[in-house]
């Protein structure tokens, strides 16, 4: 079992509770009760109770006793849970997650947390675990694992102010949060769980996984399978942090994001998946695909975020929501296909970024700066995975990875800006000769032909199936020396609109019929149509009811 942390031997650092008189061995009653009950629920495989304690009790005890201090040490609670090895690993997992959330971990604490994940994952990989844990917890393990890795890389890259002790520790424990270790653990979980084969076989009805939300109802354990499943999303995330978008998307392939799945059973996992999927597609110039997915998830968050207000994930949900609106603004500015965006989402988007998007489509220096701003706000926290050279003059290089991705992204935007001149002219003409356009643009004909070909190249990306898709809102073809402009009009979604109105009208007709037949229920129907009538008396109500119905019908006709 991992050694108890030695934070009480560290020098006091701001945020370190050792300085504040924290006693790691003091166990309040509520904690005693918490671990005893949690331990029992886990032994009894009572997933519902585990979830309640994990989500709610842990939070409320933290808020009451451990607002800015760690929970009691694992050694002090172990006696209450029979010194159970696995429970202690789980307790420490929560312990470190709480520490990272409320305080600043020291280097030693970071290393110890790594040790704990190693031990925990080894136990799971050896297949000796027979617990059932809530998906929320299993997702949090993978999510936190990747987060702590990212955090460590950022921390390690800031070499300038490192003390000699820290550097010595870093050199000594060079395996901690090593990129190979992180990737191999995630890969091992995917492989050992055989989750890819399970998902394949599920399509042919030979396996049950999604149907049970990953839970095992035949007396077994869901832990390895579900950790393996979430690890695919973990791999997508790590590869995005490294700038390898292609491989990241490959890792996600076994999960069909056009359907519900275990990934949607936990909102954090749903959002993380789509955020990284969308971002990867954005960097691969597949703007339409990114827009489609951002649109779906933003609509989903809009409808459901109220139900998560009390949850510990709420802040993160809101943050990712804002970031994805920024990414959507970028995608739409580079690929104006507004018809892909749903009404509600579009309204929110206009509110947040309407003005900026107008300026971004102007393709001047200011627009360039806006692309920079939005990208920097919304992008993942890219990392440099390699260990620093401890010999050279110590510098901070934690921004290097971000700067590279930003540079490549802005290069892409610059290309678009160069082509904006072409777009301006194409918008104005339906046909124009090469000769005339080259005069207007003040270039010679061969140069214009090159520019036009570049426009075609830039606006036509290769999608994940290897097919060519067009991002262009203005397109053209050339017949010898004549340019024919083709504008792809945003298709009005007539089908959708008429469907809704048909159903609505049917509802009103039914209500009107009811008014004629049932005098008593008149008032109810009036109120249901939003009419608060202060009038008393029979005939007026009837008239008003029919009027309500009629104006509803006129409404439909007027908007058609």
């Amino acid at each position: 079992m991992a050694v108890a942390t030695s934070y009480d031997h560290e020098q006091p650092i701001p945020g370190d509770s050792a300085a504040a008189g924290y006693d790691p061995n003091y166990v309040p009653d509520s904690v005693k009760s918490f671990v005893v009950h949690m331990y029992r629920h886990i032994r009894e495989k009572n997933v519902y109770e585990i979830h309640q304690m994990y989500e709610t009790s842990f939070q409320s005890i933290s808020d009451r006793f451990f607002k800015d201090a760690p929970w009691p040490s694992v050694d002090s609670v172990a006696p209450y849970v029979d010194n159970d090895h696995v429970f202690c690993l789980l307790y420490r997992e929560m312990w470190f997650r709480h520490l990272y959330a409320r305080l600043s971990p020291t280097l030693k604490q970071r290393i110890d947390s790594w040790d704990n994940y190693c031990n925990l994952f080894q136990v799971v990989l050896h297949g000796v675990v027979n617990m059932q844990l809530p998906n929320q917890w299993l997702w949090d393990m993978v999510d936190e694992f990747v987060y702590q890795f990212q955090s460590f890389c950022q921390y390690r890259a800031k070499m300038k102010n490192k003390t000699e002790q820290e550097i010595a520790l870093l050199r000594q424990f060079d395996q901690a949060w090593n990129v190979y270790g992180v990737l191999n653990f995630l890969q091992a979980l995917v492989e050992k769980s055989t989750i890819i084969q399970i998902l394949e076989q599920e399509k042919e009805g030979l396996e049950q996984f999604t149907a049970t939300d990953g839970y095992d109802y035949s007396g077994g354990s869901n832990v390895l399978k579900v950790l393996g499943y979430f690890s695919m999303i973990g791999l997508l995330r790590v590869h995005c942090l490294l700038g390898d978008y292609h491989t990241g998307l490959k890792c996600l392939l076994p999960i069909d994001i056009s359907q519900q799945g275990v990934y949607t059973s936990v909102i954090g996992s749903h959002i993380t998946t789509i955020y990284h999927y969308g971002f990867a597609n954005l960097m691969l110039r597949r703007y339409s695909e990114a827009i489609r997915e951002f649109n779906k998830i933003l609509l989903y968050i809009f409808k459901t975020k109220q139900f998560h207000q009390k949850s510990p994930q709420y802040e993160q949900i809101l943050k990712k929501n804002e970031q994805m609106y920024a990414l959507l603004a970028i995608s739409l500015s580079l690929c104006p296909q507004v018809q892909l965006v749903e009404e509600t989402v579009n309204l929110q988007l206009r509110e947040k970024y309407g003005e900026k998007m107008m300026r971004m489509q102007r393709y001047d220096e200011e627009a360039f700066a806006l692309y920079d701003e939005l990208f920097s706000y919304a992008c993942p926290k890219f990392i440099t995975p390699s260990a620093p050279s401890y010999e050279e003059p110590l510098v901070n290089y934690n921004q290097d990875a971000y700067r590279l991705q930003l540079k490549l992204f802005l290069y892409e935007v610059k290309q678009q800006q160069l082509l904006s001149g072409v777009r301006t002219f194409l918008k104005v003409y339906s046909t124009i000769s090469i000769g005339k356009l080259s005069t207007y643009m003040e270039v010679d004909e061969p140069t214009l032909r090159t520019i036009l070909m570049t426009y075609k190249h830039k606006t036509h990306a290769v999608d994940s199936d290897g097919k060519i898709t067009s991002n262009a809102d203005i397109d053209f073809y050339i017949d010898d020396d004549m340019i024919h402009v083709v504008e792809s009009k945003p298709a009005k979604r007539y089908g959708d609109y008429f469907m809704r109105q048909i159903v609505k009208l049917e509802g009103i007709m039914t209500d009107i019929d009811r008014i004629k037949l049932e005098d008593d229920s008149r008032v109810e129907i009036l109120i249901s149509h939003g009419i608060r009538s202060k009038r008393e008396g029979g005939e007026n109500h009837r008239g008003a009811g029919i009027q309500a119905g009629m104006s509803g019908i006129q409404d439909c006709q007027g908007r058609g």
Binding site: Y180, N184, Q187, T247, L284, T384, D400, I478, M499
Partner: protein
Amino acid sequence: MGREISNAPTNQKQQSSMAYTVEQLVAVNPYNPDILPDLENYVNEQVSSQTYSLNANLCLLRLYQFEPERMSTQIVARILIKALMATPAPDFSLCLFLIPERVTSRFRQFWDEVAKSRHILEVVPGFEQAIQEYAVHVLSLTYQKVPRSVLAEAVNIEGPSLDKFLDHHIANSGWVIEKNENKGQLIILPRNEFNHPELKKSTADGVPLDKIARIIPILG
């Protein structure tokens, strides 16, 4: 993703046993510093046998990211050239995302040289052909009918070689020559949704079946 084995006659051979092993390694054990030499050898094999593997090359670039002191600039240059040859696939950009700035800035001079000289063509077989294929691809997105002179410049061929080139595409790609008294030859390129917008399938207005099902009782 990206163009796999190209049109060269070598693809008639069975995939070499080295390629087979490396592909397996990349699929099964990619996060492993020990396979770095195998991946480097594989890049050289791709160059000489005119084959290509995006996944193996990305795997190598990642390992270079993890251990920068083991990186070979020459190998990186070769990977980038092979990726360029896969255009219009975005392989070149994919590779750039993984290479630190200080490395690519060293290449700036190199690329300037490449733009000027044909020296590169001797270094990486199949490069010129790949670039020509890309040029033809963009032409077919852009033109219904393209003048001979424009085509000539795009593929960098003239005279009798160009005639041979045209004959090949007439026979194999559905090109048609139209003679124009004033301007010389016009090449008619095959119809697709990008140079013939009327061929574009409308994706906008399909209504899903379940929504129709809702109104069937109403209509009925």
